[in-house]
């Protein structure tokens, strides 16, 4: 017989174990889906999760994809920890890319050490500006931040589309929907010859360190934790709720904006329509899978980045549709949330002898 018992206290060991369990269950369910689709499950999983990162190039690609995911997820963890549901990081990424791309185009064919920092700063500011819209509407007009931040994603993509088709399109570009290539001074340096991994990874690592410090060593981190735990308690303790809401949105907008900068000044080198394969949405999963913990988010971003690469490899070698990546991402989150049940409840197996 099975009996379910409520735990007196959420189990800390299980808190960090469930993400691993969720990944395992996702692999099992993924194998099952491949089997239903008529593929050999183990072979498909191998092409999905091992082949893409088996060589140096693959590993560089993994880091390349994990960088924006990690950066955005770190930003989102500020919001989610304090109970603010910013789900429009994709829009903040896009708007950050627009602003920084615009600045980069101003420096077209110019050289100078000051160009790249200006471009990066512009991206962070762009992301912050865009994130401030749902934040201000939430604090001063009581408007649901989930819906506002999401609607703004669609708006940002349309602004980008307008710019790359219209005023910012490359005059010598035969009407392709893209801008000029940025000058070399506006591009993030590559770390290794022949690989695409670029200096943007340091931005992500810096975000990890800073967030760890803020979460665990500052009063602000403590306030965020309390507000996330219980808004009533936070209000009772006299925390300035409105200020904090705006602050966490700005931080998360800046991170998403920086992720956008990393993409356009790194592997892309210009603005065009498809600057992000939904990194902003996928990072939500990364943030949860990493348990909103900076170190956890590093691991989670690597795991989730594989689903992007795996989807590409599986499509090339096995004609498995590339959307399988998204299916895997959705499943990881499902299984993670489901296994959280074990945090609060114990399953006891009671022998029939009793």
């Amino acid at each position: 017989m099975i009996k379910i018992v409520k735990r007196d206290q959420p189990s800390r060991a299980i808190f960090f174990f469930t993400p691993v369990l969720a990944i395992f269950l996702t692999l099992v369910a993924g194998g099952l889906i491949f089997f239903i689709l008529g593929f050999k499950p183990f072979e498909a999983l191998k092409f999905f999760f091992i082949v893409p990162i088996a060589d140096k190039y693959g590993f560089s690609e993994l880091l390349l994809k994990a960088t924006p995911l990690c950066l955005i997820a770190i930003g989102l963890s500020f919001c989610f920890k304090s109970n603010n549901w910013n789900i429009g990081a994709e829009g903040q990424l896009t708007f950050g890319a627009i602003v920084s791309g615009g600045v980069a185009l101003l420096f077209y064919e110019q050289e100078g050490f000051y160009i790249l920092p200006t471009v990066i700063l512009a991206g962070a500011i762009g992301g912050m500006l865009y994130a401030s819209i749902p934040a201000i509407l939430k604090t001063y007009f009581n408007t649901n931040e989930i819906l506002v931040s999401l609607m703004l994603v669609y708006v940002s993509k349309l602004i980008l589309d307008y710019l790359v088709v219209g005023p910012w399109s490359n005059p010598e570009g035969f009407n392709f929907p893209e801008t000029r290539q940025f000058s070399d001074s506006a591009k993030l340096p590559l770390l290794f010859e022949g690989l695409r991994i670029h200096a943007g990874i340091f931005l992500a690592l810096a975000a990890v360190v800073i967030s760890w410090f803020v979460f665990y060593k500052t009063y602000l981190g403590f306030q965020m934790k309390v507000s996330g735990f219980s808004l009533k308690t936070a209000r009772y303790a006299g925390y300035k709720g409105k200020k904090m809401i705006i602050l966490v949105f700005l931080i998360s907008g800046a991170c998403a904006g920086l992720a956008g900068v990393g993409e356009i000044t790194g592997p892309i080198g210009q603005l065009h329509r498809e600057i992000s394969p939904d990194y902003g949405f996928t990072a939500i999963i990364v943030a949860f899978l990493g348990r909103l913990h900076p170190v956890g988010i590093i691991f989670a971003s690597l795991v989730v980045a594989i689903t992007y690469l795996g989807a590409e490899t599986a499509q090339i070698f096995m004609q498995i549709p590339k959307y399988t990546g998204q299916v895997f991402q959705g499943m990881i989150l499902f299984f993670l949330l489901a296994s959280d049940y074990l945090l609060f409840f114990k399953i006891k197996f009671i022998g029939s002898k009793k």
């Binding site: 509407l137 009581n142 408007t143 708006v155 349309l158 602004i159 549709p321 299916v327 959705g330 049940y341």
Partner: protein
């Protein structure tokens, strides 16, 4: 300039047609939310309904199987959400997001083999009566059965919530699950039912898009309508009749954008396309500003998990 009165009728009819998926999904979500559950997976359930309806129509050739199959697909996918949030007590927001990501992925996966296949013609009712009455003829007649159902649904929903016993139970569960539970109502069962109903309506909304409105399968063809449907529920302050008004406004924005392009208004097309999203934000701000009113009309337990300790 002579304005053909039937032309105005046709424009109104096309606005109504584009409002249909919003009405269906919003009315479904409204029932779910009235029971205290916030399901952010509308977009995912809708797109699953869209591909299921289109795929079943292509494979079986039967429109009836396709429409009901799409609703069933919505029910099935929402069962995942119901199981997670009600049985495993997961966070509503995160689970709904997972549902949307999963739904978009799986629909594109299934839909791979259905891209570029032409749809079938969906039968319309009262076609012959269209020209009998000026202006009203094209508005009232010559639409699909789903169209008529959608415009009846807000009234049915309103009647259900206000006048029936089950409707009262749903509201009680949403407003105070504790007291409902003390009255002997199975809160979890009611919420399961409301979630699955919401799934069915979102599935139907999706099927309307892929089978009737633009009869073909395009990846991501719901294009945020699921999210607008969610916004409409807030806009309506959980009153089904107001969903009708909201959906007509958004339908109108979509249609006007086409006509403005057609008559050559010199506004960038991207701005016109962005209009429904921008207006959604503005409307949400206007509605939500009065926090007291919102608090009074929001189901009190919305988005909060309920677990009955043994």
């Amino acid at each position: 300039m002579i304005i053909d009165i039937n032309f105005i009728g046709l424009i109104i009819a096309s606005i109504m047609a584009s409002a249909v998926p919003l009405i269906l999904a919003s009315c479904g979500e409204l029932i779910t939310e009235r029971s205290g559950v916030l399901n952010l997976g509308v977009e995912g359930m809708m797109i699953i309904g869209a591909i299921s309806g289109f795929a079943l129509m292509t494979v079986t050739g039967s429109l009836i199987i396709a429409v009901f199959g799409a609703m069933l697909a919505g029910v099935l996918i929402s069962t995942i959400f119901a199981f997670l949030t009600q049985t495993l007590i997961t966070n509503h927001v995160a689970t709904g997001l997972a549902l949307t990501i999963f739904g978009i992925g799986i629909s594109a996966m299934i839909g791979k083999n259905f891209v570029g296949i032409p749809g079938k013609e969906f039968p319309v009712l009262f076609e012959g009566l269209k020209d009998t009455i000026p202006l009203l003829g094209p508005i009232l007649f010559g639409h699909s059965i789903v169209f008529y159902f959608a415009f009846a649904l807000p009234f049915i929903t309103s009647y259900f919530l206000k006048k029936t016993k089950i409707g009262l139970i749903v509201r009680a569960v949403g407003d105070s699950p504790e007291s409902a539970s003390n009255q002997g109502i199975n809160v979890r069962l009611v919420r399961y039912a409301c979630i699955l109903y919401g799934g069915a309506m979102s599935g139907l909304a999706g099927a309307y898009l892929s089978m009737i409105y633009t009869p073909q399968w395009i990846e991501n063809m719901t294009g945020g309508r699921g999210w607008i449907a969610l916004a409409l529920v807030v806009f309506s302050t959980w009153n089904p009749i107001k969903i009708l008004i909201g959906a007509m406004i958004f339908g109108g924005l979509t249609i006007i954008q086409f006509h403005m392009q057609a008559i050559g208004v010199r506004i960038p097309v991207q701005f016109l396309t962005a209009l429904p999203y921008i207006v959604t934000i503005i409307v949400l701000v206007v509605i939500s500003r009065d926090s007291r009113k919102i608090r009074l009309s929001t189901p009190s337990s919305l988005g909060k998990s309920f677990h009955k300790d043994n």
